[in-house]
Symmetry: D2
């Protein structure tokens, strides 16, 4: 699906519009408006042209753009068909696997929102966890319609940026990716801690927590890949857990029985999906420390 | 129920034996043996006299002492009656509120142990959690009968020490109490953290975790009472949890949204029930550290 | 020299005034004013009576009180005689052992101050180091005379409180003592670090640094006595230094050659002479941490 | 001076030998022996060929190689002329700026060594500080001549590797460079600490300490260049000092007066000149921590 920017710069207008028709949901007119401004120096310039077209469109067009979006987690709509993009996005955050309690909460949110504003609640789900979507909804419901139209368009642009990033290859990149990484330093031996099992769990108030990454530290005490990378780090609360008991036992370090420290859970929240969040662990069998690193 | 040592030193032999008849379960002969050695300079001397009597008794007497003890968590025995002491001890560790899975595990353990050795599995339950009792059983089952008789008598003496500590007032104390304490230092402001909600939970592999203490830090960042004190700190795994998000929010400290740190869980194990275990927290909104203190 | 408050409450007025004549330098009238209010419930009440007498005295009396004080570090006055109290106080901060550069700095400060205000610069030297006295002087010199009279009287009262604390025994205590303590926790072994050599040095910008305390940690990782206690902790900058290389070498802990950590210096300032400042060290052969504790 | 390996692979034998004549001090025969093995796939292969030639040479040749080296810090030899390489190496460690006490210590060491073994004491000075050279001497003096010949040849090879690294450009690199880096994380604000003045000082028991690097942290809390890089990190003791008082004062963080923490000195030793040593600082106005990182 990934197309080269240079190809898009030189193909026919029809081909261009077809390629980018769903960057903005069901709204090929955005691509059409941008087509005439080709060639683009980079994906940043292409994205700017598309968002400018949205900004300059009349209010009715923007409202129609908003209304072109599906409700979140709506089973009827899912059955009747979303765009492939919408479907993949909703699945990524687990909206296709909601518990009944979660599904009810989303339904209530959607209905209340639509009842008040007359258009669907829109949020860029790839930047969120289920809990943070529900919290976002609660915060936005008290707003007035004008503010919500602005917020909806801003979220639509975030959705568009992520879709464009996945559709178009360019030397420059849109700043849509974040990173979550860790590092384990064994301050008992003064060396990186290799071979420690790590598990990253998304915590949830409403539904079940779910493991989102597993890894083992390498010889530098890091994971070969970031725990989350190449995409936004969803806003939400997480547990990062380290099996340090097994590690020290394997090194014949004297310990108490049971070991004072075994599985160490660190709980923290992500608030900036496009940022780099580094959560290291400094550890001995009797002490540990963590901090928001960079 | 608490009797002064001086009274016990000067009462009749019968009164003495009656008072201490169940320090060793259903075995007043131990008190009888000690009665003739009165007066005792302290509770330590009294306890030593009683354990010496047990040590010097013939093997059959010791075996009878072992057999005088009930099975752990045995529902039939509970119905037909334990000594008040045994009942209170088993309740303290939650043996009266076992889940079905836990009850089954205890039943299997008891049966296997009794089948192999011909006498009941005995452990000083006040020094244990449910998980550590099951682990202790697993460790002891492979032993030979001689070793298990020794271990059983040692556990009986631990039970006796705790019963004596609760029955007799003396200026000296038996070393049967441990302590679990904490301290929260706010290294963002350089001061003790006051008003932080703390919860101590006993973790369990088999059954449900259960909260065993709740407290709020005072102006010195400590709790007014130790989290556990005046008794052994049961061997087992614990979570100590601190509501630091509320604390910093209440002090108008700039934080991310959601706050990077909110509820901080520390997981650790207790291995020395009679020791003093201090588990402090050094914390800012962006970092924390803990260690086994003293 | 220490007299019981009860004796002072019941002796003759003359004896009372003689005993407390120099609590306020060369100013027995303060004791005289307080004598009539006897008996005092405690040393706090006695001190309050004396400071109230100073507060209610006419301006000329207070100015005379100020002028009854010697210049700091004045060699001529030292030769001709200070009160024993003044002499001991000045010696305590090392004013009798100034380097030439320090002596010149004090002389300049005194002369400038006296030239501007017409009365001597007064500060409660027991609460200060040489450096902090010079800094205090620099801060106060720009003030107007009225503010400086107030400040001088406040400092005279601080001097008086310390003299009274050393002269009168009472069940209550004046809050004039601070404390500086430390604690070394070996997080490599999870235990207090015993036998570590500690040195406390007063740092100076102007003159030579000087060692003010030496100690060795006991089995609890603490020093038997506070590093500074039973007196104000002088405002100033300090180095607390720990010989951790020797400690870990003595425990056969694997280390690099030369050891990564050997002598650890912690530099910190004291700002509250009457407070309790705790400066602990958490240390492994490869890491350490400190914080302002309580 | 830097020559491409490809040029050395294809030039005449004479040119090759001339270019590498002093890689081994005054010993062009080593280059001669290697010349016939051209072409070399990389600088590693070239170095291996040269050291193999040394290893396979008769003992007399190796002894002559050892004797071709100057005494360390010998003023007479310095006047009469060292090779440019020797001179630059000795200057790098400060051997041209020794205090009288240091010079005497080196003289005594050299004389004792030469008197015992009959050949000069040789050490790769670029891997050392003055203190570590003297300590190395003390350790080696008790050895026997055979062991010292081996050690001397090993040191000569280390010298040669560094000379070769500076003389020959190749895609591969000899593993002769270490790195010393730092990182300051402000755990009060949860961000890297930018704009902190840092000073690295080489500590010395015998002579004066000397500042070897100064830097200011950038927006990532790091220094733009490693504190030491592109060369071995000399074995020795160091102080890394951070001006955190100015940093927090500039951010209007509430502090005591004087500030509890102002200049923070970290003392540590380097033991592995070719390794990467990372010494970070985690700091608030009231606490700090450091560790040997990677």
């Amino acid at each position: 699906m990934l197309q080269k920017l240079s190809d898009l710069n030189h193909c026919s207008k029809d081909e261009f519009v077809t390629a980018l028709a769903n960057i903005f949901e069901h709204s090929p007119w955005v691509a059409e408006a941008a087509a005439g401004l080709r060639p683009f120096a980079g994906i940043g310039a292409l994205f700017a042209a598309m968002t400018t077209a949205v900004d300059r469109a009349p209010d009715e067009a923007r409202l129609k753009l908003i209304n072109a979006h599906p409700d979140l987690a709506n089973k009827t709509q899912r059955a009747s068909g979303l765009t492939a993009e919408s479907s993949a996005e909703q699945d990524s955050v687990g909206l296709d696997r909601l518990s009944d309690a979660e599904f009810d909460a989303f339904e209530r949110a959607n209905s209340a929102y639509r009842a008040k504003f007359g258009f669907p609640y829109i949020v860029c789900v790839r930047r969120h966890t289920r809990d943070s979507i529900l919290r976002d909804f609660e915060r936005r419901l008290p707003n007035d319609a004008k503010a919500e139209m602005r917020t909806s368009v801003a979220e639509i642009c975030r959705i568009a940026a992520l879709r464009l990033d996945q559709s178009v290859a360019s030397e420059d990149r849109l700043p849509v990716h974040g990173r979550l990484s860790t590092h384990v330093l064994d301050t008992h031996s003064g060396k990186p801690a290799a071979g420690i099992s790590i598990e990253l769990t998304e915590l949830s108030d409403l539904g079940a927590s779910r493991v989102v990454a597993r890894a083992t530290t390498n010889s530098d005490g890091r994971t070969d890949q970031p725990l989350i990378g190449g995409r936004p780090v969803p806003i939400g609360r997480y547990e990062l857990s380290f099996r340090v008991g097994d590690y020290f036992a394997g090194r014949d370090v004297p310990m108490s029985d049971p070991p004072f420290l075994d599985r160490i859970p660190l709980h923290f929240a992500v608030s900036d999906p496009e940022g780099h969040l580094h959560v290291p662990l400094l550890v001995t069998p009797w002490s540990y420390a963590t901090y928001r690193g960079s």
